[in-house]
Amino acid sequence: MESTEDLVSISVTVNGRRYADQVEPRWLLAYWLRDRLGLTGTHVGCDTSQCGVCTVILNGQAVKSCTILAVQADNGTVLTVEGLAQDGTLHPVQAAFSEAHGLQCGFCTPGAEMLAVALLEENPHPTEAEIREALDGLLCRCTGYQHIVQAVALAAERKGRGA
């Protein structure tokens, strides 16, 4: 099989802005966002696809950006933590994380928030058990999860009221 190019052209819409780039196929989406776009809010916490710290929303669904190649996002739409707040107003999930003290060191927080956004999109009124189940896709070493669970519930309540 012949190959002419090591680099592949991609075009991805990230947080509403279109980016065209030449990437190596092996670049992971997480590193592409961090290194090439400077969107360092997406963190990398493991290398076996367990911790969920790198979670972003790709084409409407929560995914682990350390387990997606940047080339796989070609022609896609990515939402990262940097794209949640609109015009300086925190997204209800972000506001709830702060209000409920759903973060300590803040390293897993972007992943936790993206996961929460995706969950609430799918299930606007999750039970506590459903929230804990969804958080299976996230490791947090600081909070013991309790305030994260409360933050997600609070965000759900707010959204439910149309706030």
Binding site: E24, P25, R26, S49, Q72
Partner: protein, 287 residues
């Protein structure tokens, strides 16, 4: 962790994908959801020269009725299995297993084809697909063939997939009215099945007419517990029968052992979970 260099091609059609794998036999890997392949590549345990992305291959998508069977495209994601109305009606066992896979993000990406071709001996879907009598539709430039999943799965991360083949779809008999259950003892870290048992039962006048028991996590590959099934057919699934049938669920199997569970314990868990899955499937019929 970063994969070695490789070349990437996004196939736009099944023909194109088949051409690509045919040109680089053994050196190309099909990239579906990537949740099995990419972690292996990051750890450099898989080092394909070519990665063929089949994301856009329409022929690998879709869930539809084809007479007595349900056709489920290889690119069907776990998430779709969980929510598809046809699956819910005709093959709900697959949905039950899909619900127990990994976590929300993994279920958004992981695919039926990826799971079956990766053949992780502790994956959930193979147990349910075995208990659903799934048949695989494989295509290559040489033609098409159908293989029963039980023959396809050969060992840990080993299948009958030929280097030039692509898994197109699985076909499962439509079984509305069967009682099904998937019971799993997850590993606390990985979420994979230490033991997972998928049970499907058809009843006639209060007795077991047919029963399918798929087991994962226990042996080198997911398998059908034929010895258990035999003991159950024709019975009313009373407790002693249930216990006796479950007790032989690992007969003839080289049972796995690892840090978390010895072979002895896993054998016991398998029997316990077989019992629980069968009882739940039976209860689902009565309901």
């Amino acid at each position: 962790m970063i994969p070695e260099r490789f070349r990437y091609h996004r196939a736009r059609s099944l023909d194109e994908a088949l051409d690509l794998v045919a040109q680089a036999p053994g050196q190309a890997r099909i990239l579906a959801g990537g949740h099995s392949l990419i972690p292996l590549m990051k750890l450099r345990l898989a080092q394909p020269q070519w990665v063929i992305d089949v994301e856009e291959v329409a022929e690998l998508r879709g869930i539809r009725e084809e007479g007595e069977v349900l056709h489920i495209g290889a690119m069907t994601r776990y998430r779709e299995l969980m929510t598809d109305p046809l699956v819910a009606r005709d093959a709900p066992l697959l949905a039950l297993a899909a619900r127990r896979v990994g976590d929300l993000q993994v279920r958004n990406r992981g695919t039926v084809g990826g799971a079956l071709c990766h053949a992780d001996p502790a994956a959930d879907l193979p147990a349910a697909a075995l208990a659903s009598d799934a048949e695989l539709e494989l295509r290559s430039r040489r033609g098409q063939r159908r293989v029963a999943l039980g023959d396809f799965l050969q060992g840990p991360l080993t299948t009958d997939l030929k280097p030039d083949e692509v898994l197109v779809a699985i076909h499962v008999p439509r079984r509305p009215g069967w009682g099904v259950a998937y019971q799993k003892f997850p590993h606390p870290a990985s979420g994979y099945a230490v033991v997972g048992v998928a049970a499907a039962i058809a009843a006639e006048s209060g007795r077991v007419a047919r029963v399918c028991l798929g087991v994962t996590g226990v042996g080198p590959r997911a398998y059908r517990a034929a010895a258990s099934e035999e003991r159950l057919v024709g019975t009313g699934l009373d407790p002693e029968v249930l216990r006796a049938a479950s007790a032989v669920v690992t007969d003839g199997i080289a049972v796995n052992h690892d840090q978390f569970a010895s072979a002895e314990y896993r054998r016991h868990l398998a029997a316990t979970y077989a019992e629980r899955a069968l009882a739940a499937a039976w209860a689902a019929i009565q309901a």
